[in-house]
Symmetry: C2
Subunit: 312 residues, 2 copies
Amino acid sequence: MITTSIEHHAILHSCEELERQGIETTVVPVRRDPDSQGMVDPEEIRRALRPETVLISVMHANNELGTIQPIAEIGRIAAQAKVGFHCDAVQSAGKVPLDVNLLGVDLLSISAHKFCGPKGVGALYVRPGTPLERRFYGGHAERDRRPGTENVPGIVGLGKAAELSRKLLVEDAARIRALRDRLETSLLDRISGARVSGDRTNRVPNTISMTFSGAGGEALLISLDLQGIACSTGAACSSGSTEPSHVLLAAGLSADDARSSLRFSLGRGTTAEEIDYAISVIPSVVERLRALSPRTSEASRDSHAALAAPSQ
Amino acid sequence: MITTSIEHHAILHSCEELERQGIETTVVPVRRDPDSQGMVDPEEIRRALRPETVLISVMHANNELGTIQPIAEIGRIAAQAKVGFHCDAVQSAGKVPLDVNLLGVDLLSISAHKFCGPKGVGALYVRPGTPLERRFYGGHAERDRRPGTENVPGIVGLGKAAELSRKLLVEDAARIRALRDRLETSLLDRISGARVSGDRTNRVPNTISMTFSGAGGEALLISLDLQGIACSTGAACSSGSTEPSHVLLAAGLSADDARSSLRFSLGRGTTAEEIDYAISVIPSVVERLRALSPRTSEASRDSHAALAAPSQ
């Protein structure tokens, strides 16, 4: 199996389990140059192919950087090599158009809560003819693949959310991109040394990954939370972890910079007023925390600093 | 692993898969005598124990017969032998009290839609210290056992349904048992040769499994459906199957009798008027279909007969 270094843990931890079972996995690195940071080079995938390769898994949009991978190109390589191709499109569904034929994927996964649907339900597209072993036994539900009484409200919710996302996609994307770009430009203007990670062109319209060197990400997170601004230091699934994001490290950031990075995500509900508020608050919070440096690298001091920040 | 011949396919098919993987399973038979039909003899479980046995799985109430198994006795045997004990309590949750300590189980599974909760969500009780391997990888949700964004609405719904079931259990059970017994007695009185399968004493209060020899179950099902009465010929999970129920066969019914059997299930919403209506309709439908015998054993004729039945 072949995958990349910036996949979600859903893929990377599964690969580790496959390794434990004796199935070899090649983890292809991503580019670190500013112009295409976090991008997979399809040629690296091609070079990693072996006669025994059965599956390639590459995510569509990265959940932390927003970087959109060249899935269609990788799809052509997979098809030529007659290797199954799975795409984790959880982060891009509802944000950019997805066409399994244009992408050339055999399997594609999405998750409803990422496009305003209910939590706890997803969908796996399976191209007809793709061999797929069942994971559970005991009935014939979901075409023998996963028996059990289906999550009917969840399935209906996912369907409706997909329908609405498709209808609103173009309009949503334009509006959210404009807000995102304004937030990004304003923060870059007002915060010295702030840098955006990831490929700024090939990117979902709602994501910013930004590094504020000298200000601890955890302290920033807590300070902003107290001011009513929710963001994250990495994947939500890793919350509570003090390890720097594996995605940012793979994209070439130092551990210190990775620890000083925040991810901002916008959505259908984000308003211009909220963006204005964020622009007015974030620079001063970063400045205050930088003034506490170098103590910001100590978690306990971070919390202290955050708790001392004025809440409103 | 040790289980019984009347478990749900969720268990029996999983055992078959374990066998394919080289893990031996002993399927213990159930009693066939009328007084305790479908009951597991705990001594049979004890006799099936081997030094390498790691798990016993016995259901609490059977989904077709309603028979309640002697789980606490089996729990004592499992504890003595230091063997893990799983109980599939899907069919009994919300119908009879469940106490994992009184039952002596290490693992107990329930499913929300069986006690008026939402479809697609269940719960597995795990006694602290029970070794349990994760089935999925990629995050720390659900105590590292099943990563992924949880089905929050489903979980809340299951919790609320459990709370209500606990509150209403005694009252519900008494009311439903009275209705069930009236339906059962009336059908036995009015339909010659009708017989109840399963242990009539140790039984959940809402279930009747009844055999109407000489009337095809599928034809009965369709005829009753046309009259607004929903019942089943076996497990809902096997609907569409023409095989006789493995549970009824294991309980000693002939294939013909198993094919002439129906299961009636009552619930919190069942009214006395509905029971009166069922009592007024079912005997004449059985009589009509028996008059078509022996053609009722042919599926096509069955459908024909059903379609010719007056609908209302």
